[in-house]
């Protein structure tokens, strides 16, 4: 097995691949902000104006000059002249002069002359046009000042950020009903193997349905890319070359799940070497599952040969494909990974020097903490992943984990 003589650690493998890909030229498109959830902002977004643009009350109460309330208390109220009510959604047509006040509602614009608001519950009406103020307020109290939410010209979100519900709100608040986002990068997916058939067909003895085209396509789409499936290609060099060349021409990145045999993997590697420079960079990764993974670059585009075993293909999709799609989207490769902290239920042995990925089933305890139960199984068994809530990484420098240890389970 000369191909596996020099297994690289996963992180080093990924770094090598990333170093050999030029910075992507980001294609962008402008879309409606309301449809932009999950998309990636393509340009640094600056605030076109301050928010708010006028001082607003944060409570229901009375607009005042703070100085008029100093020393006010239940036993010694300040007395102010009620001169009117501030309208919602318009400039108040009244001016707060010393010893006067006006009704103001939450969100209302502060009238000229006022610099604070006294909450309704700390006031009392004595006669029609006189208010007792029972608490002192400081200058600016219960008020949002101009630009307190965001200042004019401030960077509101850097390019590469994912749009979540909060960003949709921030964009709308500033009038960005449209937003420029990264075009979803096309990722070509080729499945191969003479035993592999389309899922709609009924397998004959010896045949299996294609799984990897679909798990990888789903992963690509979930990550923000556009999956282009090229179907099942025969385990023959000429058919492989034609399929990969077509995918390379049409996509930003290509995934091949080779037939699982050594000869099929060698063919994938040979095809990558033939189709562009520098060709194969990593042939064999020190990870389980996923040792036969091949990482290559053909004239600036990443080509990844994933093992045919469905668990290996999907787990290594999380490890290698997700960061590459993020890079093509202009995102940071190292993003916060959603995870759950849980207590391991059993010992897990692991070979030193190798990175292991273990499917984990989480169960919640009565104390609202989680137990992590490993699902052991061969890397051909897709249902080990179907039954799992997440994946546990055992770092190369560990020789295993002990029952009772707290571990971080990556949610997938």
């Amino acid at each position: 097995m000369p191909e596996f003589l020099t297994l690289l650690p996963p992180q080093e493998s990924l770094d090598k691949l990333l170093r050999n890909i030029p910075d992507p030229k980001l294609a962008t498109e402008t879309i409606d902000t309301i449809s932009a959830i999950g998309r990636v902002i393509a340009t640094d977004l600056l605030a076109p104006h301050a928010l708010p643009e006028f001082p607003r009350s944060t409570v229901d109460g009375f607009a005042v000059k703070a100085a008029d309330t100093y020393g006010a208390s239940d036993s010694l109220p300040a007395y102010l002249n009620l001169i009117g009510e501030c309208p919602m959604g318009a400039t108040p047509d009244l001016v707060i002069k010393p010893t006067t006040t006006a009704i103001i509602h939450t969100g209302g614009m502060l009238p000229e002359g006022a610099d604070a608001v006294v909450m309704l519950e700390y006031t009392q009406q004595t006669v029609d046009d006189e208010m007792e103020i029972l608490r002192a307020v400081a200058d600016g109290e219960n008020v949002i000042n101009i630009g307190e939410d965001v200042a004019e010209g401030a960077l509101i979100k850097p390019k590469g950020s994912v749009i979540r519900p909060a960003e949709v709100g921030g964009l709308m608040a500033l009038g960005f009903t449209q937003v420029e986002v990264a075009v979803r990068p096309k990722v070509g997916i080729i499945s191969s193997g003479d035993e592999v058939i389309h899922p709609a067909e009924r397998p004959q003895p010896g045949q299996v349905r294609d799984i990897n085209s679909y798990t990888l396509a789903s992963l690509v789409e979930k990550t923000g890319g556009e999956a282009v499936r090229y179907g099942i290609v025969a385990d023959k060099m000429d058919a492989m070359l034609v399929a990969i060349a077509k995918a390379l021409a049409e996509c930003e990145m290509v995934l091949i799940t080779a037939g699982s045999s050594a000869s099929a993997r060698d063919m994938t590697a040979a095809a990558i070497d033939q189709l562009g420079e520098p060709g194969v960079l990593v042939h064999g990764v020190n990870t389980r599952p996923g040792k036969p993974t091949i990482l290559g670059v053909c004239d600036g585009k990443a080509v990844i040969g994933l093992p045919g075993n469905p668990v290996s293909a999907l787990v290594n999709g999380y490890v290698f494909v997700v960061p590459l799609v993020r890079r093509l989207l202009g995102q940071s490769v190292e993003m916060v990974q959603p995870s759950v902290r849980a207590k391991l239920t059993v010992n897990i042995p692991s070979q030193a020097g190798r990175e292991d990925w273990i499917p984990i089933k989480l169960t919640e305890t009565a104390e609202k903490s989680y137990l992590a139960k490993p699902i052991f199984g061969k890397s051909n068994l897709i249902f080990t992943l179907v039954g799992a809530d997440g994946l546990l990484k055992i770092a190369p420098d560990a020789t295993g984990l002990s029952a009772g240890e707290m571990v971080e389970v990556l949610l997938v």
Copy 2:
């Protein structure tokens, strides 16, 4: 402020609401599995056949009768007669009898008579039709047996499960190219407030753009629902009644972000009481932000009045709207929440008895752990959430958290 005399804790509030909604009659639709990522499975899925349906090799090597290899070693090999090669994707037309063997590739179907596979690297060819076997294998070694991935008739995924890439693979492996999923429940969203204008308009002094319709719509869509926006309704009882009644008729659930003033909130509550039984269930929740939240049910449909402040509206969307949408989808209300464990950078005070939600900015340290930095700010400031990576919950029984404590930050 009589309305807030009886503040309920958030969890109790949610439970009360859920108890008052009948189990939803799940509407389902059948869609292509490849487009089903993120959708919710509507029926228990059973395996129509075993997987695999025939024993397969997990390695490249030689199909054998295990008994023929017992005691074999480098110094004392077993000698077997090579009778051929198993094809990929078809039934081998050869039979392994005692002292015979055949070449087999990873994923290939085991020939009749064989019960184990010896890995290629533990074999050596002596003459054309003779193989040296250098290691013993046990019965079933390097073989996946019939039904080892999943047994015929087994529950492969219960209804209410979300479809991830792994499920897409599992479904395809069993020939489910289509899948029955829950129809995305319609959630009506009404914004109100005389100061609120459409985001495409330029605010005049005193006016603000509508944020809540869009953050809540995004949250609903992200959770798997279909948001139906009913625009901005005037702060007038008759307009409110008409809008809520229309939304109730057309949707499974209705959200109203009231104008932020007390009178506007009272109007929302009065409208809910008028439009169906039992009406308002919770008026005021012991949480910050979000105290003025109103939870009600009109003839079986949840109606939630959220505060007008954009941070309150979105945070309480995560607390109350997400579980309700999940329930309408037939999901478990209590799902695993993606979170990140991080070290708090500063003390956070909190009032005992009240649940606090604090926006958190995460930064990664050189040691690959996370620091959690609170973003303090008034609940009107949407950019406190735009700048945050997640939310930190301070439970009602805590009086605060200390700098240096490890906390779970919910990713939003």
